[in-house]
Amino acid sequence: MDKFTTLTATAAPLNVDNIDTDKIIPARFLKTIKRTGLGKSLFADMRYNADGSEKPDFVLNQERYRRAEILVAGDNFGCGSSREHAPWALKDFGIRCIIAPSFADIFFNNSFKNGLLPIALPEEICATLREDAAMGGNAKLTIDLARQMVIRPNGEEIPFEVDAFRKHCLLNGLDDIGLTLEHAAAITAYEAKIPSWQPKIQGA
């Protein structure tokens, strides 16, 4: 997994609550057996007209946000399906951090597995950051994960919470599976105690 340490980048404001995973990446784009190449379909129905042309009003179609790496979004971002194609598409587009008042659980989990940092901050702070973001590339935000700070263009520092384990994995780009396999002996010991009545799925 890619490391996430610090990031200084343009932030795009997207002040819509309940951005669901079908908005982030509609189901028709999930018919892939790869993780890559989904960035062009990110926010497809919000971003493109039916003929494939861009909707000029959509934030990521505006010249100053085409290279945005931070998204400052509305409440309950990522609600809906478990599709990891949502963080894959955001990452493939170039987004590395999303700030919102709250996130849906599965999307939140999936983001960490892909080096995409979701930061939950109260609505009034998100509103301030959206105002910063409205200034485009002239007002970059900095994310310092080690110090758990969002740094505004005026230098003000805003602390945020992150799980210690997830932070450790992001800072070091660690693969979860490798870490879990360090507990292999405990897993084997657990399996030895599974009751004998529990059926096995086999011989179907």
């Binding site: 018919k31 405990a186 799925i201």
Partner: protein, 467 residues
């Protein structure tokens, strides 16, 4: 200390703990489908890993299979065919039990788990699909995961997780005629909002829940994710045990008795702590229908579409206006009487035999309204064959409804069953997001009986007028 059902299942599955409270959680059942697994198997292959425990794992195709009667010989969309072929290659290579399209047991992953006796009380169950919450109706801790976690479970049979908070949804009283578990759940989501359950596992209890059959409980837990919850739960009881007994993968004989003895220890203890409690009276529930593009935009069928002008928050008002534009509705209009083009009866929410019976009871001896297309899509090959044996399929076809093969169908717009732009659909599925059933499609979520009523009249109708 008294514990909740969730606490008990959680505690029984903690393999190890990391420093910050994150647990290595053991997973008893891993359900795999074609859309969210290819990259996970590829990851295993690249790392030279095996599936840790194939006897905990089952695979099926559901999301992008066609549901047309001739699907076994017809040519599928090439990208879908590739995903299916990739799953078939992977299950063979890794030795995972698999129900292909040609197997009568094939169906929607969240229908076949309970139906086969694969999903059992007290278990931890995961799948790369958010509606895995469905299996919570069995008294199991079941939740959706992303593809990285699918790979993690395949490789280790565990997940790294922190415990959720406990929420109790208590529904006492008797559910009125014409209402179902679906109506209760839509009312719950309307009350708490789509983010109301975030961070919680939602346990449903009370007289009205105890009185529900398994299909009603499965519908409710299915949509707990629409309320933002990590999972839904119903304590296992005699209804659960009766449902499980004799199912193909369920324990048999003395093993069944041993299992039941354990399952009876699972319900929440008296005095167990819940972080949040929500209460509803069942007799207050009126058949529900959504008007907007979020499951929380729900009103009784007797109600009217809300007026954005009444919303003080500017951003919320703009979102309501966008929903009305997208849905082609006027503020203040009565929802009943809204004309529909398509009716979809199916999905992991409402495609079980009980749902088929509820729809057939309304359709019996009646005929579809002119110009309306009705798709009835059973949740599995076994539901289909049972519905045919019970004469339900004949009721549907006599009424002019399409009777189709098992799959996710028109719930999610990634197989040939899709709405076209502007089409309005009365749907028993779970999400009414923009474009969910096909780009530009307009979805009204409701129960199977309400869907059948819409099919007959050609418009959103209070089913109580037809029964």
């Amino acid at each position: 200390m008294p514990r909740t059902l969730f606490d008990k299942i959680w505690d029984a599955h903690v393999v190890d703990k990391l420093g910050d409270g994150t647990c290595v959680l053991y997973i008893d059942r891993h359900l795999v489908h074609e859309v969210t697994s290819p990259q996970a198997f590829e990851g295993l292959r690249m790392a030279g890993r095996k599936v840790h425990r194939v006897e905990n794992t089952i695979a099926v195709v559901d999301h992008n299979v066609p549901t047309s009667p001739g699907r076994l010989t017809e040519v599928n969309e090439p990208e879908s065919a590739l995903q299916i072929a990739t799953l078939e290659k992977n299950v063979k290579e890794f030795g995972v039990t698999y129900f292909p399209m040609s197997d009568i047991r094939q169906g929607i992953v969240h229908v076949i788990g309970p139906e086969q006796g694969i999903s059992l009380p007290g278990m931890t169950i995961v799948c790369g699909d958010s509606h895995t919450s469905t299996h919570g109706a069995m008294g199991a801790l079941a939740f959706g995961i992303g593809t990285s976690e699918v790979e993690h479970v395949l490789a280790t049979q565990t997940l790294l997780q922190k415990p959720a908070k406990n929420m109790l949804i208590r529904v006492d009283g008797k559910l009125p005629e014409g209402c179902s578990g679906k109506d209760i759940m839509l009312a719950v989501i309307g009350k708490i909002g789509t983010g109301g359950g975030t961070g919680y596992v939602m346990e449903f209890a009370g007289e009205a829940i105890s009185a529900l059959d398994m299909a009603g409980r499965l519908s409710m837990c299915n949509m707990s994710i629409e309320g933002g919850a990590r999972a839904g739960l119903v304590a296992p009881d005699e209804t659960t045990f009766e449902y499980i007994k004799g199912r193909p993968f369920a324990p048999k004989g003395a093993d069944f008795d041993a299992a039941v003895a354990y399952w009876k220890t699972l319900p929440s203890d008296a005095g167990a702590h819940y972080d949040k409690i929500v209460e509803l009276r069942a007799e207050d529930i009126i058949p529900q229908v959504t008007w907007g593009t979020s499951p929380e935009t729900v009103i009784p069928v007797t109600g009217s579409v809300p007026n954005p002008a009444d919303e003080p928050d500017e951003a919320k008002r703009a979102q309501m206006e966008q929903m009305l534009r997208y849905m082609g509705l006027e503020a203040g209009q009565k929802i009943a009487g809204t004309k529909v083009d398509v009716v979809f009866i199916g999905s992991c929410t409402n495609s079980r035999i009980e749902d088929m019976r509820a729809a057939a009871a309304v359709a019996k001896g009646r005929h579809v309204a002119d110009g309306v297309r009705v798709l009835v899509v059973p949740g599995s090959g076994l539901v289909k064959s049972q519905a045919e044996a019970e004469g339900l399929a004949k009721i549907f076809t006599d009424a002019g409804f399409e009777w189709r093969e098992a799959g996710c169908s028109m719930c999610l717009g990634m197989n040939p069953d899709k709405l076209t732009p502007g089409q309005r659909c009365a749907s028993t599925s779970n999400r009414n997001f923009e474009g969910r059933q096909g780009p530009g499609g307009r979805t009204h979520l409701l129960s199977p009986a309400m869907a059948a009523a819409a099919a007959i009249t050609g418009k959103i109708t209070d089913v109580r007028e037809l029964v």
